[in-house]
Subunit: 417 residues, 2 copies
Amino acid sequence: MAERLRIVQKYGGTSVGSPDRIRAVAARIKRSYDQGHQIAVVSSAMSGETNRLIALAKDISPNPLPRELDSLVSTGEQVACALVAMALADIGVPAVSLLGHQIRIQTDSSFGRARIRSIDVSRIEQAFAERQVAIVAGFQGVDENLNITTLGRGGSDTSGVALAAALKADVCEILTDVTGVYTTDPRVCPDARKLDRISYDEMLELASLGAKVLQIRSVEIAKRYQVPVHVRSSFDDSEGTWVVPEEKKMEEILVSGVAFERDQAKVTLEGVPDSPGLAASIFVPLSEAGIVIDMIVQNVGVEGRTDLTFTVPQGDLAATKTICERIVSGIGARGVKASPNVAKVSVVGLGMRNHAGVAARMFEVLAQEGINIKMISTSEIKISVIVDADKVDQAVRALHSAFLGPNARSLESPQGA
Amino acid sequence: MAERLRIVQKYGGTSVGSPDRIRAVAARIKRSYDQGHQIAVVSSAMSGETNRLIALAKDISPNPLPRELDSLVSTGEQVACALVAMALADIGVPAVSLLGHQIRIQTDSSFGRARIRSIDVSRIEQAFAERQVAIVAGFQGVDENLNITTLGRGGSDTSGVALAAALKADVCEILTDVTGVYTTDPRVCPDARKLDRISYDEMLELASLGAKVLQIRSVEIAKRYQVPVHVRSSFDDSEGTWVVPEEKKMEEILVSGVAFERDQAKVTLEGVPDSPGLAASIFVPLSEAGIVIDMIVQNVGVEGRTDLTFTVPQGDLAATKTICERIVSGIGARGVKASPNVAKVSVVGLGMRNHAGVAARMFEVLAQEGINIKMISTSEIKISVIVDADKVDQAVRALHSAFLGPNARSLESPQGA
């Protein structure tokens, strides 16, 4: 007989998007249940429901009260959980839905982007003891005054991993509409392959770069509590991608994936005086305006002046320029220059930590393609470059082919520098 | 300056049925708020929402788990309350929505028809102290294990009156799509008039007979805790009908209203042996089949046998006949006879308690109209008769004219017997 496991299964909105799909989810849960496993399910709202509720709120008020908005949108998961429990009962699997207040998914009071502090698993342990499946509402919690909070977009991933940590589950399965984590986006690069295993750190770099399979906060929690996460399709039983603690042999693979982000803009403040505190006087007003800065590069200064370059989402460029032009004279800089159409391409991999050749090879490949590099920034396991927007597909394909393709050249003797 | 009152306002589903109507409700609440009153609002779900959720459940399972069905449908009120609170904030009125679990609307565990045991008003008192409007979700509560329960159809009336009782409110306003309680249905009798005041007992008899303005349980609670209830339109500011403790002068009015119920069926068990326990052997199996018996009449027996007649909703007639035919030989009765097309007409009034003439006058009026009375049953303040279904409108109009019309004959010298 197979091992009895404690499993958390998290289903996304598409997987519970219709009564038929909910029945399919129930059938899938039943298969695991019939194998004797203890199962806690975390469900998102039916696809479209959260947006429908937000639209209703916006119809009432341009700035809905955050507390009330959370109470409103949390109903989406409440509905889905009740329906999943009903569907299970209908095929003979005892099930009970559990909401944020019923199992004290305790969060702070930051409505719309609350962070989980603790989960009281006693009610779920009781369900397990009675051989029930526990259907837990994702995305929601309560603060210490029983106000309903939500965790922000994609928060059900976070609910799933946090619940798996609290339950000391053997695995947190993220069941979604893709079959796993890929080396890059298959729509851009037909050679993209599904990864069997990836480390938390690699996943963090990939997730933040646009492989939107798994919310980044959930990966941070998985890493902190060492929860094995299995990203897989909800529509079939094939193995997906395991997101796991770093393993020795992972370092043998130099590059795990090629990520990219379109619709970026690059802004340069020219001739910024090289004095302390100037960076703050630039980035504080931008941050207060809600603009998210991504890459920042500052060159070594010449004659006490330097150029400071950073990237923002394209949609924020107009606001960014307005703010920068206001700042520029105050700090004695020479001017503002913006490139509205750029993109970011990154290679990510644990292996590059011990191997200097990856950057060199990356720049060589891009040079061979005639692609101009406009900015470079690196972390321990990632190298990112900014290129012209119309070159991003070409760059991704070339880099994927060089590092991950069937004829990827060995890096034992790297060329270039 | 006008008196500062503590007011519970209960809004029905039609009143909060669209964003525009929610804004109108908010504007109405603001008018009361601006007068300095303390206001707790009880909201139903937006009209159609509860049915939508039930249809979703039925699509998943022919027999949805009662606990999950309650958790599912309770989201309707949760959504409406959040939207009302947002709409209030948008016009400068501080408001907070409060759900069953947040103010411990404690019920028993009878899912789908739970009864309220207590309400913890401390959170609402806190809202009042901060000059907030409390928006309380109707229809829902929690049992002692924090399972969500619902109170049954129309349960928001019960929530409203129970909350008014707990808060010792000066009035519970039931804001709805009618302008008050009428002497009879204006669609049947154009002479129908709105009642200014009516006693709890009269309202109980009228409510159970089809004047579906106010759920009967809410009237029972109002009577027990002596909560003044004001049934009025949510669309204008006109006075509606006050449902209040009995007042001396109410007895001067013999008849307050003429109620009726269509779609009834009459069943007679003929030649039932007149022995103890036989009534139970008839009605227990009917009740177990979920059939609601209304009027029951048993005549004095002849030669140890009697005819037993009762009424059921027309839709239950087939099932009733099947059960009766099974019983009939077992109890030694002669047979079953059914009339599928009858209706019930009742006159209700405190005044008839001290005046024997009402029954006589009622029968006289029906006789003058050539309407045959098939069954009679009476309570202290109500007389009901069963007539042919096609005579019900004529009977209502004639009785209304006789007791409540502009030319209603005085009963000082009643005719007939």
